[in-house]
């Protein structure tokens, strides 16, 4: 099975405090630690497991700046066969539809049976997979937490739905699936693994290579525009307990007693 996995380089929220920059035009990027979007990493692991079981190849693709090459390379170190970077100034400022259009152009140049994305990324929109499927006129399923290959025409899949329940379906190939975290246990990538793929050439494609009009993507083509970033004033917020640890513990215990938190 020929599998394409779409990945994104994002600030690692487990490693960073995300703060709005001084003029509200973006987030503070000094000292940010970046990594591959967590959901995408599960998608790559799933693709590798399917390939190891059924044969074929795994290609990892990312839309982003030059720095995104490092996450493509990292996923190749996990075991993906090929990498592809879609990068150009004209792609900057793309909205979800723009990103999906760029990816569609790359899909059209290949011959993939299965396309995986992460269920969502740093902007929490969960949109690119569904848009890409619609553009390709392929069936789609989101929040996939189980994949079983039935044959070269069909998959059995599970979707995570409310309440921890799982919705089972059969889906025709080729299709697009967005992958939920927890579907597998992504393998660890060590320095040695990264070194092994350090010299592999990762092709970079721009709008010309993909047959895209530059004004159809990027900020020029974006129907949804981000105006600013801000920190919300939501309600009163928590009453912060201050003082020495001993004092805080004492105050907290009084509160817990009053609210029925201690039995």
């Amino acid at each position: 099975m020929e599998i394409l996995v779409c990945v994104k380089r994002v600030p690692d929220t487990a490693e960073n405090e995300i703060e709005v920059n001084s003029d509200g035009s973006g987030i503070e990027t000094d000292d940010l630690v970046y990594s591959v979007n967590e959901w995408d990493n599960y998608a790559v692991e799933e693709a590798i497991q399917i390939r190891d079981d059924k044969g074929g190849s795994v290609t990892v693709v990312s839309v982003g700046d030059e720095e995104s090459e490092e996450v493509v390379r990292r996923e190749m170190a996990m075991g993906a066969d090929n990498g592809l970077l879609l990068s150009d100034d004209a792609f900057e400022g793309s909205d979800g539809k723009g990103i999906a259009s760029i990816l569609k152009a790359a899909v059209d140049k290949g011959n993939y049976d299965l396309i995986l994305t992460g269920a969502q990324a740093d902007d929490g929109a969960a949109q690119v997979g569904g848009m890409l499927a619609a553009m390709l006129d392929m069936p789609y399923a989101s929040l996939v937490n189980e994949i079983e290959v039935i044959d070269d025409k069909k998959l059995k899949i599970g979707r995570e739905i409310e309440g921890g329940n799982q919705e089972m379906s059969e889906i025709d190939l080729p299709c697009v699936l967005s992958i939920q975290t927890g579907i597998n246990e992504p393998r660890y990538v060590g320095i040695r693994g990264i070194r092994k793929v350090a010299s592999i050439d990762i092709p970079v494609h721009g709008p010309g290579d993909l047959g895209l009009a530059a004004d159809a993507v990027g900020s020029a083509g974006a129907g949804v525009k981000r105006l600013d970033y801000f920190v919300p004033e939501l309600g009163e917020g928590a009453e912060m307990l201050e003082g020495s640890t001993e004092e805080i513990v004492e105050k907290l215990i009084e509160l817990l007693k009053a609210k029925g938190g201690l039995k």
Partner: protein, 321 residues
């Protein structure tokens, strides 16, 4: 404001989801003069549609046995067939809405905005929306021109339900216009979540842990505290993804909905998916080393501390009582 506003109704066992009335409020915030139309798709849904006429001036019904299970792949085609191209459709941003809406916006050639938590006015047909990024750490304003139609996913719980019930509307049967109901994704069955050794939905006091616990071996720290308090340990999603605790211990929209009296959120950042599983207005104590964690916006009491240091101190003090 140009096109008509439609609200997609999700429901279970004939009972509308809370979002059914929240979307009325959202529609009115989008456009103060809006008289939104409900869209209900399913099988045997007359009573449900009738109930909704109290809140919606019109309720569009698509009733067919082939639609008994809400398969987004089929319903996308139904909506494409019945909705006007310049309409604005509001959809709850839940596991169904995420499945349905992005692809629908492409098929309708409409703009799409995901997970909206507020509307801040419309200028001509240019709408200003409020969203969040980075798990709620920062908010953004986004604008889009909805003159050519829009699909907008609205966060469940972000708008108050409209309880006015003053629409006295009517049901309009759109079944004949539903179009092709075939699909390349066939629903088989729903596998119910496994019941764990402890039912966290019935507990009054929960010590809930998130990423801040850092390592599987540290879960003991939370268990010790829970034991001292007479509480039970629950968790957020990353702990289950890491397979450190059973799925039945997870609080959130993709886990359990809990209604404790007291909730200790320990090293939990507070994503809306997590908070969506916390109901009944409990007393929330947030302990987190990141002072900017979104959980502090919703907690009653906050403590800026590393849980790995703080929880053992708290346990010891409680044991000495």
């Amino acid at each position: 404001m140009s096109g008509q506003i439609f609200c997609y109704i999700t429901y279970k066992d004939g009972v509308p989801d809370d979002s059914a009335l929240e979307l009325v409020t959202a529609a009115k915030q989008l456009d103060a003069g809006a008289a939104p139309t409900a869209v209900v798709v399913g099988s045997g849904i007359d009573a449900l549609c009738n109930d909704l006429t109290a809140s919606y001036a019109e309720v569009w019904k698509v009733d067919n046995e082939a639609l008994a299970y809400p398969n987004a792949e089929i319903i996308r085609n139904v909506l494409l067939s019945i909705l006007p191209s310049d309409g604005t459709l509001l959809v709850p941003h839940d596991t169904f809405g995420m499945d349905l809406a992005p692809g629908l916006s492409i098929k309708m050639d409409s703009v799409f905005v995901a997970d909206v938590i507020g509307f801040e006015g419309i200028d001509g047909s240019v709408l200003k929306c409020v969203r969040q990024e980075y798990g709620g750490a920062v908010s953004t304003h986004v604008s889009c021109d909805i003159g050519g139609g829009a699909v907008i996913n609205v966060r469940p719980g972000a708008f108050q339900p409209d309880e006015s019930k003053s629409a006295s509307g009517q049901t309009v049967d759109k079944t004949a216009e539903a179009g092709d109901l075939s699909t390349r994704r066939v629903y088989l069955e729903t596998v119910e979540a496994e019941v764990g050794d402890v039912d966290i939905t019935k507990e009054d006091v929960l010590v809930s842990i998130g990423r801040g616990i850092e390592d599987e071996d540290n879960i003991e720290i939370a268990e010790d505290l829970a034991k001292a308090m007479g509480a039970v340990v629950s968790c957020s999603r990353p702990i289950v993804d890491a397979k450190w605790l059973e799925k039945s211990r997870q609080v959130g929209t993709s886990g359990q909905t809990v209604k404790p009296k007291v909730y200790l959120a320990c090293g939990i950042s507070g994503s809306f998916q997590h908070l969506g599983g916390l109901k009944g207005n409990p007393f929330v104590v947030a302990i987190n080393k990141n002072a900017k964690a979104p959980i502090f916006q919703v907690a009653d009491v906050g403590i800026e501390a590393d849980i790995l240091d703080f929880l053992p101190e708290l346990t010891e003090a409680i044991e000495e009582l």
